[in-house]
């Protein structure tokens, strides 16, 4: 019998440490599939973030580096500049990319580094126990916004993708979601495009993924997906931004 679906070579045959219903496992698998489909496994260098996905290299079967919190795009910039023939991507959460690392994010994008950025937006800090993220929604309760995020004190959810889109050196930005199977298929398509762009030398490409965090949202996995669709995607509209 012909095998038509199998574990990608770029993904180790192991179980993950992620919570039930977490989006990281899905996006890890998508990246592994895309790397295999493009035949770039032996050229890829991934940069794992600080946060829940810090040990992403335990699941990916290709070269990886860690980076300090927020500094992934500085590390990636240097690797790509000294090894332009490698395919370099960063995998970063909302705290990493849009809070502590905002500076590195904006400037790597503005330099037009030929990199692929996977930006996991779950509107909360997962690994440290569910504190407010820059992307936390108004009225969303977190460990550090016990009464809900209030614009008067904590500002508004930061729309980093829209902000980056105004920079002339940024070539591709798309916001996708894991809220359903059709949307997840679209997410894979966007992530693949972001890698193809780098292979083709197009320039800075970023895919923002709305991803569930059932544990710190205090919801079951099914309700989490519904919340992305009904609430989160209203604040962060899906689709091609640039």
């Amino acid at each position: 019998m012909e095998k038509i679906y199998r574990r990608p070579e770029s993904l180790y045959d192991t179980s993950t440490h992620y919570c039930p219903g977490c989006g990281h496992s899905t996006v890890h698998k998508i990246i592994a599939e895309v790397v295999d489909e493009l035949g770039i496994r032996k050229k890829v260098i991934g940069i794992a973030p600080v946060g829940c996905a810090v040990v992403a290299y335990n699941y990916w079967n290709f070269d990886c580096s860690e980076a300090a919190h927020g500094r992934a795009l500085a590390v990636a910039t240097a690797i790509k500049r000294v090894r332009p023939n490698n395919i370099v991507f960063t995998y970063q959460g909302d705290g990493d990319l849009a809070a502590i690392g905002t500076n590195e994010t904006i400037h790597a994008a503005n330099r037009g580094e030929n990199l692929t950025v996977i930006f996991i937006n779950n509107a909360i800090y997962g690994m440290t126990g569910g504190q407010m993220a820059p992307t936390t929604l108004l009225n969303q309760k977190t460990a550090t916004t016990p009464l809900g995020r209030d614009a008067k004190f904590q500002g508004y959810p930061l729309k980093i993708s829209e902000m980056l889109a105004v920079l002339p050196a940024v070539k591709y930005i798309e916001r996708v979601s894991l809220q359903s199977v059709p949307e997840t298929i679209k997410a894979k398509k966007a992530i693949k495009q972001a890698f193809i762009n780098q292979v083709d030398g197009v320039g800075f490409s970023l895919v923002e993924v709305l991803s569930p965090c059932p544990t710190y949202w205090g919801m079951n996995p099914v309700d989490s997906l519904k919340w992305i669709k009904d609430v989160m995607a209203k604040e962060f509209p899906l689709g091609r931004i640039k």
Binding site: K43, I45, F62, A67, A68, V75, A78, R83, E104
Partner: protein, 350 residues
């Protein structure tokens, strides 16, 4: 003076780095090291290297982390407040066991301080500076020629031990111009880096990391680091000694300060005073062995430590002498530099 060219200390460090094989530089402007970043911006493209003016010191040191992880000799430079910002990255470089060279052209502190030369970052450089149990190798040139020459040692030791190397100098040496001989020299270290991130063709994937979550794993990694540091302490102590055979007063000074101290030694020797000098070239590992031999041989001597700080290196001297000889101190900082007269007057009181 044939075949010599006039260069500032900052430029000599940059050219020395390039001759030593540095092919990646990222930095951020700060006085008094700006000649270094400017020099790199013009020279790096000429040698097909990469130059990036980073958006911050944090980005610069993390770019160095990335370039080094990818197997390229990499350097950054800054001055005191900027190096404080780089400490996060230096700790990660030490933890991930990556080779890198970090130049600190010291100025006055704390805080924004001023742009006058100082040596008040000694503790920060030699004790780690960032978080965690780690050490950087610290080398301190005292002349423009030596600043050039020591870059070969710096990159060589960084590769040999996969460890950050700090070149600790100051605004005086950075700005000072002297004629130097620019030569190529090779520090014999294997250029093979099987651990580097190059893409996993023909081998298992490499991971560059400093995160050890499993119980006991970090302890094992840290014990391995400590073994490395012991080897460095044993093998890499370097110093210059002057008149140590008969000296009964031994001056201890490094970098720019040692130039003033040498002047004082010359003046005092002409007057028949038996004065000698120990000039540490490596500040970590501190050249403690020479102090131990002094304690055994020059039993009646006195030690005078001179620093452009209010007393930092003196702690290493005290540890090395271990109570066996009296240790005195002269220090100024924040723009003040102890003069030859200060040293001579102090010696009259000993």
């Amino acid at each position: 003076m044939k075949n010599k060219i006039l260069m500032s200390g900052n430029e000599a460090i940059a050219e020395g780095a390039i001759k030593a094989g540095c092919r990646f530089y990222a930095g951020y402007p700060i006085t008094p090291q700006n000649e270094l970043i400017a020099y790199m911006s013009s020279r790096m493209p000429e040698v097909k290297g990469v130059f990036i003016q980073a958006e911050s010191e944090l980005a610069a040191i993390n770019m160095v982390y990335g370039a080094s992880a990818a197997g390229v000799r990499a350097m950054t430079s800054s001055s005191s407040p900027g190096v404080s910002l780089k400490q996060e990255g230096i700790s990660y470089i030490a933890g991930a066991e990556l080779p890198a060279v970090i130049v600190n052209v010291m100025r006055g502190g704390p805080g924004l301080g001023n742009i006058a030369p100082a040596q008040s970052d000694y503790f920060q450089a030699t004790r780690g500076g960032g978080h965690g149990d780690y050490r950087s190798i610290v080398i301190a040139p005292s002349a423009v020629q030596e600043a050039f020459d020591l870059m070969f040692l710096g990159f060589g030791l960084a590769d040999k031990y996969r460890n950050p190397v700090i070149v600790l100098t100051d605004g005086m040496l950075g700005q000072m111009m002297e004629p130097i001989k620019v030569a190529s020299c090779k520090f014999q270290v294997s250029s093979k880096k099987p651990w580097a991130l190059t893409g996993c063709a023909g081998r298992k994937p490499n991971i560059v990391k400093s995160f050890f979550l499993a119980e006991g794993a970090l302890e094992i990694a840290n014990l391995k680091l400590q073994e490395k540091y012991k080897t460095i302490q044993e093998k890499e102590q370097r110093f210059e000694g002057l008149f140590l055979d008969d000296a009964n007063i031994i001056l201890v000074a490094y970098g720019s300060m040692a130039r003033v101290a040498k002047g004082a030694v010359g003046a005092l020797r002409r007057n028949g005073k038996k004065v000698g000098l120990i000039r540490p070239i490596t500040l970590w590992p501190f050249p403690s062995k020479v102090f131990k031999s002094i304690c055994q041989r020059n039993k009646k001597s006195k030690v005078l430590v001179i620093e452009m700080s209010y007393g930092q290196m003196i702690e290493d001297v005290l540890l090395s002498v271990n109570g066996k000889l009296p240790v005195e101190f002269i220090g100024k900082s924040g723009g003040g530099i102890p003069s030859e007269e200060d040293i001579i007057n102090k010696i009259k009181l000993l």
